[in-house]
Amino acid sequence: MNIVDIVYNPWFSGIVGLLLIGIVFVCAILAVWLERKFGADIQSRIGPNRVGGRYGILQGVADAIKLFTKEDLIPAKADRLLFVLAPIIVLGSGFMMIVAIPFGAIVIGDNVYPIAATQMDISVIYLEAVSALSVLGIFMAAYGSNNKYSMIAAFRNMARMIGYEVPLGVCIIGVAVMAQSLDIVVIAKAQSPLWFVFLQPIGFVVFFISILADMGRLPFDQNEAEEELVAGWGTEYSGLRWGLGLFGEYIHMVLGACLMVLLYLGGWNLPRFITDIFVLGSLMPIFWFVGKVTIIVFIIIMIRWALPRYRIDQVVNLGWKVLFPLSILNLIWAVALSLAFDMIFGA
């Protein structure tokens, strides 16, 4: 047995892969900090500036500690079971996504070793399925807390998710058509010379908007909507229970950025002459991947602070009446393009 067999043993990779959860946790804490600091910069405020130096980089840690010492409240009218289970599902859906996402890869010569807890043959379907679970969690939270604001947020949220899940799925098929695989590692590898964003520009735009809406980010934010619904699904939540749900949303944001990089922006692929540099070259794909994810997270946060929020009917209309036809168009374009490739380069 050589080292590769040991590392890719499912029990080994499953247990060591739990470290990935820790890494994503740190990234999510950094994303919370980035959102606050960067948002403050955009709005000409100061933002966090006390904990951990001038830039307040440890603000997220301080917040987490504070949440641990807050009283845990369950309102008298709440449905206790739903109320307690909901944050677990929101967070759990993030956890379950981490399993199948490769966070970069180590490239040695011709061999590519993706850094993922598992490599399934249908990982894109799996990822779509478990990411949709978080909406269920949010709905349970709202229904369980028996609050009017939460309830309105939950219904809107469901309508939003319903409208954007279909274009998202069609865009993923558009990518799968080109890579002829549903394995996210194969899809990432298939973009070796040319990223899919250049081959399917429409698909990328639709995917970007859909995933933005799917994560519940502004300008499609309907699950919190602070301006009119107090705090949406989280109105009745307090302390760490609320923190878990919110944290789940930030994990979703980071993972959504990862998906965008893997499916459309070329994943970790680097030209051969870079990866052939001894040791450092093998690790370069990881930095390349993380760098791209960071840029996407930056853009997502910038969009949040730059744009006002859409009304719910506008959100739903955009999903059903614009993005869905566009995504079908992109699918047909992707099929035509891959048939042309097949005819030119095929056997």
């Binding site: 067999d5 890719y8 499912p10 029990w11 499953g14 892969g17 739990l18 641990f68 010492t69 807050k70 009283e71 845990d72 409240l73 309102p75 009218k77 944050p87 677990i88 967070l91 759990g92 956890f95 379950m96 399993v99 807890a117 598992t118 399934m120 043959d121 249908i122 807390s145 609050n147 604001y149 939460s150 309830m151 219904f155 309508a159 319903i162 409208g163 899940e165 279909v166 799925g169 069609v170 098929i173 799968a176 058509v177 002829q180 695989s181 229970r241 878990l244 009917d313 739903v316 209309n317 059903w320 009446k321 079908i328 699918l331 047909i332 099929v335 891959s338 048939l339 097949d342 095929g346």
Partner: protein, 124 residues
């Protein structure tokens, strides 16, 4: 390298961890956090006034149409996933592509019907 079932072992491990972490955290919170004696803290938040009635309302029936449309399209789209992996390189390319286009036409006919019936219109 490994079978199909093997690739789901890490999923099971992650599922167990995902279910175990929040209760452990909540146990820590339970031991750390203070408890106030106030009784009003258990009332539902409604901007300070006394809540009227229940929140578990029946939502507008048109909302249901979205759900139906979603189930229809999502299930139909699901058929395209396996298709996407096999349509090239198995000697069935022409048949597969034509069949997929026919399938999409049927799906889009349903879509146009829904649009014309104003099922995709958000009711104020």
């Amino acid at each position: 390298m490994s079978g199909v079932i093997d690739s789901y072992i890490p999923v099971i491990i992650f599922l167990i961890v995902a279910l175990a972490v929040p209760p452990v955290l909540m146990f820590i919170v339970y031991n750390l956090s203070p408890r106030s004696k106030a009784k009003d803290k258990f009332t539902t938040y409604e901007c300070g006034s006394v809540p009227i009635g229940e929140a578990k309302i029946q939502f507008n029936i048109e909302y249901y149409l979205y759900a139906i449309a979603f189930v229809l399209f999502d299930v139909e789209i699901l058929f395209l996933y396996p298709w996407a992996t096999v349509y090239i390189g198995h000697g069935i390319t022409q048949v597969a592509v034509v069949e997929m286009l026919l399938f999409l036409v049927v799906v889009l006919m349903g879509y146009v019907y829904l649009w014309k019936k104003e099922a995709l219109k958000w009711v104020k």
